[in-house]
């Protein structure tokens, strides 16, 4: 998608932009449970979906919402759920079912402060590692971030495209800052927006194996009701979709869930840089915080300091190769996050001691300011 698209200029709240992006992506099913700061997504879709033949349902809790989304997706509907920390915790088991059964769907987490009920109305980025490891068992994960309403729109479309391409749930890790910010954005020309729809079988029902190994390692799941009767389960299964206790088949199943994401890393990995070419200090930031970081870079540059920004817009899988490459060129990283360094740990691992790792963290519910970042940079250059 072009970074500055041409089209209709609108004022939109981030959460509304996410909901609108879902509709553009072809989302026709939403199941959710109210929670601040994500509820606007549900409130937008409840009005829009029935007007375009789509379905909306407020479930009895987030566990149910995640289950309903998987059920709907198996009939062929592109399906979405949206929540925040406490609800994201509740979704984890069924999220794992979607991973295991390879059911495409999109889960939005507009992050607030935790643990527990934490700070319902204040921003945070404390679910970054939960998105990676929150559901039990080894598996690959795709998670995306956004630092503007425009990006919430675009990344939501991207999330559906990834989900349909790789047959997996995709997590959108937004935060309260971006979710509740109303700002100018551009709704692009429809024709310029690429939409991916999952494949359907080309063989006859007799020859069909839902989890057969394909060339690109992605299964082809027929929509329920189309004449291909197969089994979907959260148990370890073989290519038929039926449970297995065969050690070799179990291993194949589990390795596949990580490898299918790793194999497509190049296509999934996205990031933005700003002033990084000759930088000595690389600021690592994402989401709402990346905006303060960009401002900090501008001010540092004006003051003659060689500072740049690396903003991962795909956060899982983690851009380890890119970080290692940057680590060879800069003196240090400053990881700026509204948590206690959840992604800084990943940067540290990826940088392999080739650059120093510094942190700017904030967990009091106030956004990180450009000055806080600049003060840190000044200590380093």
């Amino acid at each position: 998608m072009p970074s500055s698209p041409t089209g209709k200029i609108v004022m939109m709240q981030g959460n509304d932009a996410c909901a609108e992006g879902a509709i553009w992506a072809g989302c026709r099913f939403f199941a959710g449970y109210p929670i601040t700061p994500s509820s606007e997504i549900a409130e937008y879709l409840v009005r829009k979906l029935p007007r375009i033949g789509g379905k909306f349902i407020q479930m009895e809790d987030e566990i149910a919402a995640m289950g309903a989304v998987i059920g709907a997706s198996l009939t062929g509907a592109k399906a979405l759920t949206a929540t925040s920390g406490p609800g994201f915790s509740l979704k984890q088991e069924n999220l794992g079912h979607a991973v295991m059964a390879e059911v495409p769907c999109v889960v939005v987490d507009v992050q607030r402060g935790g643990p527990s009920t934490g700070t319902p109305t204040l921003p945070a980025q404390m679910d970054m590692q939960q998105a990676r490891w929150g559901s039990h068992g080894d598996h690959g994960v795709i998670a995306l971030t956004a630092s503007s309403a425009q990006e919430m729109f675009e990344q939501t479309i991207q999330a559906f495209n990834f989900a349909e391409t790789y047959m997996t749930p995709v997590i959108l890790l937004f935060d309260e800052i971006v979710g509740h910010m109303t700002e100018r954005m551009v709704l692009p020309e429809r024709a310029s927006v690429k939409i991916v729809n999952r494949k359907q079988p080309t063989v006859s029902p007799d020859e069909y194996l839902p989890y057969e190994k394909t060339k690109d390692d992605i299964p082809v799941l027929a929509n329920f009701g189309t004449g291909y009767r197969y089994n979907v389960t959260g148990l370890c299964h073989d290519e038929t979709g039926f449970p297995t206790n065969d050690a070799k088949k179990i291993e194949t199943n589990i390795l596949h869930l990580t490898e299918k994401i790793e194999r497509h890393r190049r296509e999934i990995m996205r990031w933005k840089t700003f002033g990084l070419d000759d930088a000595e200090v690389c600021i690592f930031a994402y989401g709402g915080v990346a905006r303060s970081a960009k401002r900090a870079v501008k001010e540092c540059r004006e003051a003659g300091m060689k500072v740049g920004l690396f903003e991962p817009t795909t956060i899982w899988p983690f851009p380890s190769e890119e970080i290692l490459d940057i680590a060879g060129r800069v003196k240090s990283f400053v990881c700026v996050e509204m948590n206690l360094g959840q992604m800084a740990r990943e940067v540290e691992l990826a940088a392999k001691c080739k650059a120093e790792i510094h942190r700017v963290n904030r967990v009091d519910g106030d956004p990180i300011t450009p000055n806080q970042i600049i003060d840190k940079v000044k200590e380093l250059v």
């Binding site: 009895e60 289950g67 989304v69 009939t75 509907a77 009767r229 979907v232 039926f242």
Partner: protein
């Protein structure tokens, strides 16, 4: 001879159930009901939770979805709402539906979404080896109630009725002809329909409660499950310990997925008249 082969997944046999387990009897009754109603296999979806009973989907040749413990009704709600053309059958155990999945059970009933819920009640957690369940009768033994269960048990059919289900029935695996009729009626009903099916578990329940022999369990069902109208006519002292079977509740009320489709049509009409 009735041809079950048309409906089963022969490749997955032998099944996992113990000899003397009631769950296979329910599967056959369900197959006969599907056949009787002429429901096309391609348009039927079975959604199950986790448990011995919830392993049924592996054996039935329709669209099948084995979910997570207690959540079958939530998944099934998504299937049905997204594609109301599909016949959605939920298979769930007493623990699955009324302990961990209790919230989905009552809200599915309240919504009156068109699902046929076959709730296998064996008074125990079978799959995990016999722990106490919300339906284990007071005083009975379980691996986690070795001194006798202290808790009162749930009336799970009554719960569905109170929560808003439009059809509630109780059957058992001894009175199989009646079970066929109840499952057929539940499948035909538009709305949230529950058939509570007493399906004995000799292994995890019987063994601990002096009913280890499957024949004894069958005899227990024969003697204690009585058709509701017959039971109503019995003297008070005869009624003690007896369980009423048959259709316990059957009312007409708006069904959720159909109501949603009406909303879509209404909004379309409003848009047309505005244009």
């Amino acid at each position: 001879m009735f041809d079950y082969l048309e409906y089963i997944r022969e490749r997955n046999f032998p099944h996992i159930w113990c000899s003397g387990c009631g769950d296979g009897i329910v599967l056959k009754s369900l197959i006969r009901s599907i056949k009787k109603l002429g429901i096309p296999k391609d348009e039927a979806v079975m959604v199950a939770g986790i448990g011995c009973s919830s392993r049924t989907p592996g054996y039935l040749d329709i669209n099948t979805l084995h979910t997570t413990h207690g959540r079958a009704i939530a998944f099934a709600t998504g299937v049905k709402l997204a594609n109301p053309r599909l016949h959605v059958i939920v298979v769930t155990g007493d623990g699955d539906a009324t302990a961990i999945g209790g919230n989905h059970y009552i809200h599915g009933a309240r919504r009156n979404i068109d699902l046929t819920v076959l709730l296998y009640n064996n008074y125990i957690y079978g799959m995990t080896g016999g722990q106490v369940s919300p339906t284990t009768p007071r005083g009975k033994n379980a691996s986690t109630a070795p001194f006798g269960n202290l808790e009162p048990s749930f009336n799970i059919s009554g719960l569905a009725q109170a929560a808003g289900a439009s059809f509630v029935a109780l059957g058992d695996v001894y009175h199989v002809q009646q079970l066929d009729k109840l499952i057929t009626a539940a499948l035909s009903k538009k709305g949230f329909s529950v058939v509570e099916i007493l399906s004995p578990c000799p292994t995890a329940y019987g063994r601990r409660n002096k009913l280890a022999n499957p024949v004894d369990l069958m005899n227990w069902l024969k003697d204690n499950v009585v058709q509701k109208d017959k039971l109503d006519k019995m003297a008070e002292d005869e009624k003690v310990g007896k369980i009423a079977s048959g259709i316990l509740w059957d009312v007409e009320k708006p069904e959720f997925s159909a109501e949603y489709d009406k909303l879509i049509e209404r909004l379309k009409a409003e848009k047309r008249s505005a244009e």
